[in-house]
Amino acid sequence: MDLAKIRQDFPMLQEKKGRRPITYLDNACQTLRPQSVLDAVNRYYLELSACGGRSVHRLSTEVAKECEAARAAVARFLNAHKKEEVVFTRNTTEGLNLVANCLQWQAGDVVVISGKEHNSNLLPWQLLAKKRGVKIRVVPCCADNTFDLAAFEKLLDGKVKLVSVGHSANLDGVSIPAAEVIRLAHRNGSLVMLDAAQSAPHQRLDVKKLEVDFLAFSGHKILGPSGTGVLFGKYNLLEGLSPFIAGGGTVSSSTYDGCDFLPPPEKFEGGLPDYAGIMGLGAAVAYLEKIGFDFIQKQDLLLNSFISEGIREMPRFRLIGPAEAAQRGGIVSLAVQGIDPHRIALMLDQMADIMVRSGQHCVHSWFNAHDIPGSLRASVYFYNTLEEADLFVRSLHKIDKVL
């Protein structure tokens, strides 16, 4: 793969007049978009601006066709049984909330989560606990912050209705042994939902092979437009869920007394969808397929190893998660001794146009439990270069000397 050529696909990486191009290392928050995604979004607004599938004119028909093509592309991307298992949402958070709100819960039902969940996979269960008396069990992390499978197994019993865990953590990039987790949960009679926000951009997701029941991810983390997301659900499970946001597009008919809901996925897609976003998401998936996960993972490892090695000599920066870069996907998360990570992030931006994340990354629960105020997180993606990784490391060294 010609990295220079790939980078040309991303307008944000091009040199602007009088300014060097940015070094974007905040990909765990959201990725940059290739021109093909921008073109797809623009195409809707420039050529197809209409309500998909609701009117009968040709614009409407064309929009519906494009959106269904995007759904089919996402289904292929996930290796789903059929495209109707793909529900378009606004983001991962909405997908997780949809399941949390639409499954039938009894007081005393248990949800199992991991010890370093994003707020999106923590707060919905806390709300559910308050509203319906659902219990939350948290799987503790191992010493190196990896998933403690043995502890997880011990938490499983007949009361566990759902295991909802992050496939890869946005805190440190560590992935859980998903296949084993799903096997153990299913053996226990529990459903499994994966928060794949961080894994979808970096590893091939095969929902058939994983046999996962629900899986949610966001478009903006896989090169797609902001405000787009996907909830995958096994079709029979989706059929059993009550609707989430009822409204236009979710029913075949209604009377003053009731209505006939459409089958999934329509019954979950109330209101006018983000057609442009969905078309962009379809283009993003197509672009990722073209790049291939082999290349993505090779780049992740190369860049993560380089950065991890580069920061080793600075005792002020302590790596969160396992030492091996191979276990951390595209993320290098650093706890910084004695300095607010926001300060370092601002300095990196100012001195070298490097964009990184700082703070608690919506994993407040983990940081609070470990009494760490925050971390500096650099997250790479396939379009990042070794030169950029080197610039980041050199800049951190400079800052380390100065502060």
Partner: protein
Amino acid sequence: MFCIVSFLILAVVGIFNASCRELAREAWSCVFRRVTLRPCTTGFDERMKSRILGSVINRSETAARFLSRNFELLSWTMFVLMAASTLFAARGIYLFYVTGSCSGSSEASFCLFDPKGENSKVSSAIAGCPVKPVTVKDLTLKGVNLAAFPTVKAAGKKRVVLIGCYGCQYSRKIYWDVKQLARDNDASLTFLDYPVKVKTNLMTRLALCTYQHDPEKYWQLNDRLFKAAVTDLDDPAFAGRLIAELGLDPAETNRCLNDPATEGAVSRQMDEVNKTNFFGTPTVFIDDKPFVGPKPHRVYAISMNGVLYWLH
């Protein structure tokens, strides 16, 4: 301390730059919390410090390290310097308002509100380099026989003395204003003619002769001379026209003009003017306070009636 300094700077820059307004607001929030003895919660100080360090570090790591380690001290230093410069600026504005010069003296020095120094420009009366530089402080009316000069008497106690010359542009600029000011304030006005720029000996003698014979007509002549084209001021034909215009006796006036005694009187007047130590025209004394250069009207008015002169 940094937020206070930042607020003051950003508040000013924010007038012209919208992006600085938001920062100024943040800085203000920080300042407000500080002065109410609460910690700043916006993180403004830290963010700005990081941005500054981020810029400096690319130029010099040593400088960045120094800045990082002494940031609070440097902030205090900046604050003190800013407070001092603000006081000086306020003083400069006040002095400009009151004296027409930021430094308060009538000597030319840079002033933002009068960048070209128009308010202190003079037609120099000093040829060559004086042995001892003369300053405004040296100007005085003590020992000067003002009775030897044309004076418009008034009932009031106030006194305005103008040293000017008919051919000098700055004297021409303020003559009318000073005359009106004296009239409005019931002050006596004494005019000391001292030709420094253009050769106006003829007109000086004409003025002296006119004053000796008819003080009323002298002031009419004076007005005409300040209105006249500078090129006419050494023209005997123009003098003849003035004599006719003012209804003076031509024979008597010509005799006086050519009388060596008149020349001597003019010379004595010049000597008398020199006793004031003046170094250029126009020089105006409001009572005993000297102003050198063509000051704005308000400066003379303030000197006469105080800062709230318009209430009089």
